[in-house]
Amino acid sequence: MDNSSDATGVRIGMWLFLYSEIILFGGLFVLYAVYFHNYAADFVEGGRQLDRVIGALNTIILLISSFTVAASITAVRRQQKRWAQGLLAFSCGCGALFLVNKYLEWGAKFHHDLYPNSATLVDGPPGQNIFFGLYYVITGLHALHVIIGMSLLAWSLIGVSNGKVNQLHFGRLENSGLYWHLVDLIWIFVFPLFYLVL
C-alpha cells in the first residue's frame, strides 16, 4: 500500500493539483478579461496608480527564489546538504521579502483611501472600483499562496535537516518546489495585468 516509491505517480498527482490551482485563478482572470473589455480606460488609469518599481522588484524576487528552489533540489541530489539548506532558507526569505513589499504597497493604497468599500472607490468611476477590487482579490489570494508555498518550503527545509529528504527520496522537496514555481508563474501573469496595463 506504500506508493511513495512510485515517483511518477506522485508527480502526476501533484501536476493535477497544480492544474486545479491554475483553474482557480483562471476564474479570476475571466473576470479580469470581461471587465477589462468593459472598462479599458479605467483599467489603464488604475494601472498608472500602482507602483511599478515595487511590482518589478517583487517579480525579480520571485524569479530568483524559483531559481534557488530548483538549485536546492540539485544540491540535495548531489548530497550537498549545507547548500540545500542555505538555498531553501534563502527562498523562504525571498517569499518573506515579497510579502513585506506587498504590505508596504497595500498600506500606501489604504493611505490614499483606495481599498474595498472606501469612499473614493464607491463614489469614483465604476471601472476604477472594479480594477482595485480585482487587484485586492487577486493579489490577496496570491499572497495567501505565497504563505502556503513558504510553509511547504520550510517543511522541506526541516526534511533536509533531519535527513528525511535525501538524494534518494526528495519527493517532498520536489513537489514543494513545483508549488513554489506555480506561485511564481501566477505572479508572472498578475504583474503585467495590473502593473503594465496600457
Binding site: 502526476i12 498527482g13 483553474i23 468593459n38 480585482l134
Partner: protein
C-alpha cells in the same frame, strides 16, 4: 467460501484498535463504508426536508411552515442533496470501494489523501449543520446562491458557502486520486479497453471534478469576499455584472450535473450485462460516450441562463451544444436496451432498479431537450416543469442508479443478502410514487406555476395535492428499501462470493473482500464482459 479473513475481521495493528481502526484507516473499503453511512444520513435528512416541502405545497396558503422557513427548506434540500448526496454518492462510496478492486489492485494511489477527503466531507457537512442554527439561520437563496440576493440577505450565507467550498475540495481530491490510481495502479495485464465500464465512467467523472470544481471554489470565495468587504465585483451600482456570477457558477455547476450522472450510468452498464448474461452491446461506444459527455457537458453551462439577458448568438450556440450532449447520452441508452434484446434475463432487485433508471432517466433526458431549445425554454423557464425535469434526471437517474448500486454491491460489501420480496415491493412503491409525484409537476409547469413559490393560485391546487400523495408513496417506498437493507445486516443470510454471476474482478474475491482485496494474483479477462465461463458453470450445475 474461502477461509481468508475479510477486511472487517483482519486484526488492526497495535495503536489502531477499536474506533481508531476506522477513523484513522487508509483502507479504501473502510472509507467507502464510512462514506456510505454519512451519505445515507444526509440523504434521509434531505429526503425528509423535501417531503415537508411537498406537504407545505399540498394545499393553498400556510400548511405547516412559514414562508421564511419554506425558503430555507428548499435551499437546505437543494444544498444537501447536491453537495452531500448526489455528487459524492456513487464515486465516494462505490467508487472508493470498487474502483481499486476492478483495477486489480489493493488500494487507491494516495490512501492518506483519501482519508483527508473523508474528513473534508465530514467537516463540510458539519459546517452546513452549524450554519442552520447560527447567525440568521440557513440561507434562503436557493442552492445557486445567486447575487445580488446572496450578498444582501442577512441569513448565514457565508458559512454555508464555505461548507460547499470544503465539500468541493473533498470531491476534487477524490477525483485526483482516482485519475492517478487508474493510470498508475492498474494491474499490468489490464489494457485500457479491458477496464470495466463503471471504472471508466469514474475516470471520466474524475476529470470533470478536477477541471470544473476550482471554478465553483473561486466563485464561492468571491461570494464570501463580497459579503465581508463589499467589493462590488457583481454589483451593477459599482460597475460589476451580476450575469458574470451566473456564468462562473454554471461553468462548474453544469459540468457537475455530469459528475452526478456519469457514475450512475457506469453502475447501469455493469448491472445490465450481468443479468443479461451477455456481453454489453457497444463497449467502446459506451467508453467513448462517457468521455464525450464529459467534454461536451463542460461547454453547455449557459443554457441555464437563456432568460438572464445574454446575446442571441450566445443563446443559439449554447442551445446547439446542449442538443449535442443528447447524442452520447442516447448512445448509452440504446446500448443498454440492445444488450437486453434477446438476452437470457434474470430478474433481480438490482436489475429492476436499473430498468426503472433507464425509463425515468429517458423521460428526464427528453424533457431536457424541451428546456435546451431556446424557444420552448422561454415558456417553461423557472417553472415546475424544470423541477420535474431535473428530478427525473437527478433522482430518477442518479438516485435510482444509486439504489441499484446499493442492491447490486450490498452482498459484496457486507457479505449478506437482503430480502428480495421487500426490495421489489419498495422499488414498485417508490416508482409509482415517483410518477405521481413528478408528472403533475410537468403539467403544473406547462400551465405556468413558478418554482420556489410559497403559495399558488386555485387552478394549481389539483396538481399539487396529487403530487403530495405521490410524495408520500415515494417517501415510504424509499424508507422501506433502506430498512430492508439494514435488516439484512441483522438476519445475516450469508451471500456467496459471486451471487449474481458477474465477471468483473470484484466478483472473483470473497464477500466481503479480504484486507488486500485479492487472495491470489487477479486474472484479467481479454474482454471484461465475457460471460462464457459463467454460463458454462451454470449449465453444469443444472
Amino acid at each position: 467460501m474461502s477461509a481468508t479473513p475479510s477486511f472487517f475481521q483482519t486484526p488492526s495493528p497495535p495503536g489502531l484498535t477499536g474506533i481508531k481502526a476506522w477513523l484513522l484507516t487508509h483502507d479504501h473499503k473502510r472509507l467507502g463504508l464510512m462514506y456510505l453511512w454519512a451519505v445515507l444520513f444526509w440523504f434521509v435528512v434531505a429526503l425528509t426536508v423535501g417531503f415537508l416541502i411537498r406537504i407545505e405545497l399540498m394545499s393553498m396558503g400556510r400548511t405547516i411552515m412559514s414562508a421564511e422557513v419554506y425558503n430555507s427548506a428548499f435551499t437546505l434540500h437543494g444544498v444537501i442533496m447536491i453537495f452531500l448526496f448526489v455528487i459524492p454518492g456513487i464515486p465516494a462510496i462505490f467508487g472508493n470501494f470498487f474502483l481499486p478492486i476492478q483495477l486489480g489492485t489493493d488500494d487507491v494511489f494516495f490512501p492518506r489523501l483519501n482519508l483527508l477527503s473523508w474528513y473534508l466531507y465530514m467537516i463540510g457537512g458539519l459546517l452546513a449543520l452549524i450554519s442552520l442554527f447560527t447567525a440568521g439561520g440557513f440561507p434562503d437563496t436557493g442552492w445557486t446562491f445567486y447575487v445580488p440576493f446572496s450578498v444582501g440577505t442577512n441569513n448565514n450565507v457565508s458559512l454555508t458557502v464555505f461548507a460547499a467550498f470544503i465539500l468541493g475540495m473533498s470531491s476534487m481530491l477524490t477525483g485526483l486520486n482516482f485519475i492517478t490510481t487508474v493510470h498508475r495502479m492498474r494491474i499490468k495485464t489490464m489494457g485500457w479497453m479491458q477496464i470495466p465500464l463503471f471504472t471508466w465512467s469514474l475516470y471520466a467523472t474524475a476529470w470533470v471534478q478536477l477541471l470544473a470544481t476550482p471554478v465553483i471554489s473561486i466563485t464561492l470565495v468571491l461570494v464570501i469576499f463580497e459579503r465581508f468587504f463589499q467589493i462590488g465585483l457583481f454589483d451593477p451600482d459599482r460597475g460589476g455584472d451580476p450575469i458574470l456570477y451566473q456564468h462562473l457558477f454554471w461553468m462548474y455547476s453544469h459540468p457537475a450535473v455530469y459528475v452526478m450522472i456519469l457514475p450512475g450510468m457506469g453502475v447501469i452498464s455493469e448491472i445490465i450485462p450481468t443479468f443479461s448474461r451477455k456481453a454489453i452491446f457497444g463497449y467502446k461506444a459506451i467508453v467513448a460516450s462517457s468521455l464525450g459527455i464529459a467534454v461536451a457537458g463542460s461547454l453547455v453551462w449557459a443554457h441555464h441562463m437563456y432568460t438572464s439577458g445574454m446575446s442571441d448568438v450566445a443563446v443559439f450556440v449554447f442551445s446547439l451544444l446542449t442538443f449535442l450532449v443528447a447524442i452520447p447520452t442516447a448512445v448509452k441508452v440504446f446500448s443498454w436496451v440492445s444488450t437486453l434484446y434477446r438476452a437470457s434475463i434474470e430478474m433481480t432487485p438490482p436489475l429492476l432498479y436499473g430498468l426503472i433508471f433507464i425509463y425515468l432517466f429517458s423521460v428526464g433526458g427528453l424533457t431536457g431537450l424541451v428546456l435546451g431549445a431556446a424557444g420552448t425554454d422561454i415558456h417553461v423557464h423557472d417553472t415546475h416543469f424544470v423541477v420535474a425535469h431535473f428530478h427525473f434526471t437527478m433522482f430518477g437517474g442518479t438516485g435510482f442508479a444509486f439504489f441499484a448500486a446499493l442492491h447490486y454491491w450490498w452482498p459484496k460489501m457486507f457479505g449478506v443478502m437482503y430480502n428480495f420480496k421487500r426490495a421489489y415491493l419498495a422499488a414498485t412503491l417508490a416508482t409509482v410514487g415517483f410518477m405521481f409525484h413528478y408528472v403533475p409537476m410537468f403539467i403544473l409547469g406547462l400551465k405556468g406555476m413558478p418554482r420556489r413559490y410559497y403559495d399558488y393560485l386555485p387552478q394549481f391546487s389539483q396538481g399539487n395535492s396529487l403530487a403530495a400523495v405521490g410524495g408520500l408513496l415515494l417517501f415510504s417506498g424509499i424508507i422501506l428499501m433502506l430498512v430492508n437493507l439494514v435488516l439484512s445486516l441483522r438476519s445475516r443470510q450469508v451471500a456467496a462470493a459471486n451471487p449474481w454471476g458477474g465477471c468483473t474482478l470484484e466478483w472473483s474475491v470473497p464477500s466481503p473482500p479480504p484486507l488486500h482485496n485479492f487472495v491470489s494474483e487477479p486474472r484479467v479477462m481479454a474482454y471484461p464482459y465475457d460471460f462464457s465461463e459463467i454460463i458454462a458453470r451454470e449449465s453444469q450445475g443444472k
